[in-house]
Amino acid sequence: MSETPEQPTVNQVARLARIHLDDQQLTSSGEKLEQILEFVSQLEQVELPKDVEPFFGAIESVNAIREDNLQTSVPREKILDNAPESDGEFYLVPPVFRNTDS
């Protein structure tokens, strides 16, 4: 796609997707990505009428609203049962920021 900005590298895409890939996986993933992108580039050839609207899904222009009623939901402890780590009330995660002092 010629007019688009410089292509992100497979490394950058993996970073954006928050997926760790080793060097071998990066190479193989990059090759497959290229192959698929080449295949889907046939869409460039499809001529569209000027005013065609995108179609994002089969249920169009329907906003699903409901009464704002209080309903019971799944108890917290049942949801936290699936947590890799929790204190019974919150999810626990590793430090968000690395300590750079040490």
């Binding site: 796609m1 688009t4 900005p5 992100p8 497979v10 895409v13 993996a14 970073r15 954006l16 997707a17 928050r18 997926i19 760790h20 890939l21 996986q25 993933s29 497959k32 990505l33 192959q35 698929i36 992108l37 295949f39 889907v40 046939q42 869409l43 460039e44 499809v46 569209l48 065609v52 609207e53 995108p54 179609f55 994002f56 899904g57 089969a58 249920i59 699903a64 409901r66 799944v74 108890p75 049942k78 949801i79 049962d81 699936n82 947590a83 890799p84 780590e85 999810y91 995660v93 590793p94 430090p95 968000v96 920021f97 690395r98």
Partner: protein, 490 residues
């Protein structure tokens, strides 16, 4: 006649008549799973409480309680659909130990109809695949020839029905994942209209395309299941309030005057010669049944696979962002949060899932949206318009479900594009949101099943089921079962 040879509607009648108990029925299928699952790997897990539930239903029947419409009928559920308290993995290491805190709406409905969930079936990881080879739990083998794939992603559901390890099953279909395996395994599979069946509790792959549906031996059994699972659900904001009729009534209405469209382009290029012959034979059957066959054009469907492999990965890359090591059981070792995300997703997802997330991330990355996602969504509009035009002329569209019969295990695993093309005839229905069904026609000369696809107008599942049922009244292909022991080569 042994229970496993009977159709679900007959089993339900026998259960209601007291000719067989739910306990005996469930035991019969559990025994078959015990014998055959090691070779087929159709089930990831068998329900530990199925027998207990069957006993409870027998007790309730004995005491004269009124029971649901499927009381005592065993049913297999694709493992991407949540069953409360039973591990639900979507075929992924990421969810290996995940136990949903609630039932999917369709599971809730099946349970209130007193059906018995007998187990969870194998699938391509997060429903991404056309062969069930992308499962963390190993591939499923096709009972017609165990060196071949059952199709995918609902390969476990298709194989277990074909092998009679369960009378009926539930699958999900994002680009053909019910119809393509139904075709490869010689059974009937219905993808309902988008919005017809609630997606609440279906582990999301591509939310604008995903739809749950029945996988059965006959169209009549699909109608029986649809009558239970279809209908509006306030918990799925995309589920439709469109009237749900009884899918069983009208099945016997003759096809005289029904207009069936055939798209010649779909019967030429790249189509296996035998598949083409058998589909043409099936067209003759529909003519004999009184249908009028008309030629139609679907010019934009040639771009369907390309549009699909932009749209589905884009939606997937967003949907699967939730698997980050915080909430869903699996977490990889890491020193900080960012590393935890990356390691968890790097180790928890299989190769194909990572590939599609990468593709979706790329296509949605800054500066690429218009060239990829927006363009594909406009092509999607054109495909839908093709169908709108065609359905002004005809009531149904007929063609092959897949370009070839089941391919061999490993045949396409290194070539994603070859694998993607297995869905060439099925993805358009998902893009347009219309219903479609696959039914078995005459098998290939080597004994491999071949599927015929019928596509219909939105919310006209009745017409699809009626046409499929009438075809099955006239032919016997849907009654064929693979012979035991399973053939290992074809």
């Amino acid at each position: 006649m042994t229970l496993s040879a009977l159709n679900a509607d007959v089993i339900v009648d026998q259960l209601n008549a007291g000719e067989v108990t739910a306990t005996d029925c469930v035991q019969h299928f559990l025994d078959r799973i015990q014998i055959h699952n090691a070779e087929l790997n159709a089930f990831i897990r068998v329900s530990e409480s199925a027998l207990e539930q069957a006993e409870a239903i027998d007790q309730r029947r004995k005491s004269g309680e009124s029971l649901g419409s499927l009381a005592g009928l065993p049913i297999a559920i694709k493992d991407g659909i949540c069953v409360s308290g039973q591990p639900t993995t979507a075929g992924s290491k990421m969810l290996e130990n995940f136990s949903p805190p609630y039932d999917a709406t369709i599971v809730e409905r099946l349970k209130s109809a007193d059906a018995i969930i007998i187990g969870k079936t194998n699938m391509d990881e997060f429903a991404m695949g056309s062969s069930t080879e992308n499962s963390f739990f190993g591939p499923t083998n096709n009972p017609w020839a165990t060196n071949r794939v059952p199709g995918g992603s609902s390969g476990g559901s298709a194989a277990c029905v074909a092998a009679r390890l369960a009378p009926v099953a539930i699958g999900s279909d994002t680009g053909g994942s019910i119809r393509q395996p139904a075709s490869f395994c010689g059974i009937t599979g219905l993808k309902p209209t988008y919005g017809r069946v609630s997606r609440y509790g279906l582990i999301a792959f591509a939310s604008s395309l995903d739809q749950i549906g029945p996988m059965t031996r006959t169209a009549k059994e699909s109608a029986l299941l649809m009558s239970v699972i279809a209908g509006f659900d306030p918990r799925d904001s995309t589920s439709s309030k469109e009237q749900v009729s009884d899918f069983l009534t009208g099945l016997e209405t003759p096809l005289a005057g029904l207009r069936i469209g055939v798209c010649r382009d779909h019967l030429n290029e790249g189509l296996d010669v035998e598949v083409k012959t058998k589909i043409n034979d099936a067209i003759s059957v529909f003519k004999q049944l009184g249908a009028n066959i008309e030629e139609i054009e679907l010019p934009q469907t040639k771009s369907a696979i390309a549009a699909y492999y932009i749209i589905a990965p884009c939606e997937a890359s967003s949907n699967l962002a939730r698997y980050d090591g915080v909430r869903y059981t699996f977490r990889a070792q890491a020193n900080d949060l960012e590393e935890m995300y990356r390691n968890t997703r790097g180790q928890g997802f299989g190769d194909e899932v990572k590939q599609r997330i990468m593709l979706g991330t790329y296509a949605l990355s800054s500066g690429y949206y218009e060239a990829y996602y927006l363009k594909a969504s406009k092509v999607r509009r054109m495909i839908k318009q093709d169908y709108d035009e065609a359905f002004k002329k005809v009531d149904l569209i007929l063609g092959p479900t897949t370009p070839t019969p089941a391919f061999k295990l490993g045949q396409h695993t290194q070539d994603p594009l070859a694998m993607y093309l297995a869905d060439i005839y099925t993805v358009s229905a998902n893009l347009a949101g219309i219903p479609a069904i696959s039914v078995p026609v005459e098998p290939s000369s080597t004994g491999l099943p071949i599927g015929l696809q019928l596509q219909g107008r939105a919310f006209e599942e009745n017409t699809l089921l009626r046409a499929a049922h009438q075809f099955q009244n006239e032919t016997l292909w849907h009654t064929a079962s693979p012979s035991e022991p399973w053939r290992t080569q074809s």
